[in-house]
């Protein structure tokens, strides 16, 4: 049943031009721009090549775009247009709808990451991690799940679909900047780095950076980063369970 829901949610995603752009094209665009700007100089705390730095960093963005941004916008729109309410008028259990949509988000997130990895590999000669591959995959999946929970939590405070897009971008853009996604965070003042440490974007990006660093040994897990992501997932889930509604916010006011 989850797969049934997943199939149609994925189909709906692929037919939506706006979500295709913000989810797939935008991270690719950023990758091309940043690598072009910084060339193939050595950057970042561990002095890796710019492309080796930006592929994992923007993979984090891709994961977030696929799970968080996309989910907040589509779930808010579906709630406000009565689509969610109508689905709830059928026998389908709530968890099937949520799990099916979350699975779609996770698959999209991982696909975007794969696209970025392939561009990095064949466009910029970034060596793909082999022994740290488990770390890359596990970090990305946990990141995607965590951002799905946060997405469901955020929809509960957004009143209408017009507010959804600006809201997620307003939250995410600053976080991308301070979390080492757009610029290596060694360039940031300490207090800003401390702020970034609180939020999940930093930990997803850091986990992936670590796994991509040629100097990393082992399977590429950073347990503190994974721990923070799980913690955020728990917070998001709790808020979502407490506040999530199926009926339009406009109608219940």
């Amino acid at each position: 049943m989850i797969l049934h829901q997943f199939r149609y949610d994925l189909l709906a995603f692929l037919r939506n031009r706006q979500s295709r752009f913000f989810t797939i094209i935008l991270p690719v665009l950023f990758l091309v721009i940043f690598v072009s700007v910084f060339g193939n100089h050595d950057i970042g705390p561990n002095n890796v090549k710019a492309s080796t730095y930006y592929v994992p960093g923007l993979s984090a963005m891709g994961v977030i775009a696929g799970s968080f941004v996309n989910l907040v916008i589509s779930v808010t729109a579906q709630r406000e247009s009565g689509v969610l309410k109508r689905r709830r008028a059928t026998p389908v259990p709530a968890w099937v709808l949520i799990a099916g949509r979350a699975l779609t988000a996770i698959v999209i997130a991982l696909s975007v990451m794969t696209v970025l990895l392939l561009i990095g590999r064949f466009g910029y000669g970034v060596k793909l991690p082999t022994h740290t591959l488990p770390g890359v995959v596990v970090t990305a999946v946990i990141g995607a799940v965590s951002f799905c929970c946060l997405a469901y939590a955020l929809t509960t405070v957004i009143k209408n679909e017009d507010a959804a897009q600006p809201m997620v971008q307003a939250i995410m853009l600053p976080l991308y900047f301070i979390s080492g996604v757009f610029i290596p965070n060694v360039n940031l003042p300490t207090w800003l780095r401390d702020v970034a440490q609180v939020f999940p974007v930093q930990h997803l990006a850091d986990g992936l950076h670590h796994a991509f660093d040629p100097a990393t040994h082992g399977a590429g897990f950073v347990w503190t980063d994974i721990g923070v992501l799980v913690l955020w997932a728990a917070v998001g889930l709790a808020v979502a369970l407490w506040r999530f509604t199926w009926t339009p916010a406009a109608a219940t006011a």
Binding site: M1, H4, Q5, Y8, L11, A12, F13, L14, R15, N16, S74, A77, Q78, S81, G82, V83, K85, R86, R87, R88, A89, T90, P91, V92, P93, T247, P248, A251
Partner: protein
């Protein structure tokens, strides 16, 4: 077996200071089309949402298909279809895909092509839901409510905002539900809709049921006086007429409880004077007249 599909006793719903529903009783029997009529804000949607299990009630007893909808599970949802007041199509899916998605939610769904045919969307089966006209989208809503082959269907204001031809088409789809043996609970604020489609009507105003009956008998309509009206011929005074009448907007009206005899008396009187009454109109009150009277005129 009891053939009541919906039974409501003393239903009340309060929101903070507002008493939206103030103690109503309803009974809907198997196989009938029941129209629930009322002006906006009368408690219509609140009531139907309580019956659909979307809202909780403050007081009273509600049984829908033998189950309290406030605690109904997926077994109950398998037997009930809802056309909600406001709902868009599933974004990004065609008519057929929407129905395939929803068919997967039910235990024993109807055939998809058959259901598309039933609502007359054969030509639009491969069209995206977002690209349908308002009337076509509403027919898709009906198809989605039907796909699980429910016993009972709620239709919440199914034709609000439609042009006349789209309304006629929607009516024929709803009338088709009768042939399938479905029980239909229809809310509307259009009199002609209730009159054309329903077997029984209940009217709600200010949270209470003000009348209940068939389209012919609602609000004592069958027993109401017939109104005979015409324009007073030139040079004739009101008190010259053989019947007691009153004038309104240049026309003369006679309230009559024996219309045939009164028309004859008028005719004899007029012919004897060599007059005619070319715009004479003999009319029972329309359901709309009854409704406006029942709901205080502000519909």
């Amino acid at each position: 077996m009891d053939d009541a599909v919906i039974t409501v006793r003393g239903l009340q719903k309060r929101y903070a200071a507002v008493q939206a529903v103030a103690g109503i009783d309803l009974e809907v029997r198997r196989g009938e089309i029941f129209a629930f009529l009322g002006p906006n804000g009368a408690g219509k949607t609140t009531t139907v949402e309580i019956l659909e299990g979307f809202r909780t009630r403050t007081e009273g007893e509600v049984s829908v298909l033998g189950v309290d909808p406030a605690h109904a599970g997926s077994e109950w949802r398998n037997r009930v279809g809802c056309v909600l007041q406001e709902s868009s199509a599933e974004p990004g899916l065609t008519v057929r895909e929407c129905l395939q998605l929803y068919a997967g939610y039910y235990e024993k769904p109807r055939d998809i092509d058959d259901t598309i045919g039933l609502v007359g969307l054969e030509a639009k089966a491969e069209t995206l839901g977002d690209e349908l006209s308002g009337g076509q989208r509403r027919r898709l809503d009906v198809a989605l409510a039907l796909i699980g082959d429910p016993e009972l269907i709620f239709l919440d204001e199914p034709t609000t905002g439609f042009d006349p031809s789209a309304r006629r088409q929607a009516w024929s789809v709803i009338d088709g539900l009768r042939a399938l043996g479905k029980t239909v609970f229809l809310t509307t604020h259009y009199m002609d809709e209730a009159e054309n489609l329903s077997d029984r009507i209940a009217v709600i105003a200010n949270g209470t049921i003000v009348a209940e009956g068939t389209p012919k008998t609602l609000g004592g309509r069958a027993a109401m006086a017939v109104r005979i009206s015409f324009t007073l011929p030139d040079g004739v005074r009101l008190d010259e007429l053989p019947l007691s009448a009153h004038a309104l907007n240049g026309r003369v009206s006679v309230e009559s409880d024996k219309p045939l005899a009164d028309v004859k008396a008028l005719a004899d009187w007029a012919l004897a004077r060599g007059l005619d009454l070319p715009d004479i109109d003999v009319r029972r009150p329309s359901l709309e007249d009854v409704y406006l009277q029942l709901t205080g005129g502000d519909s």
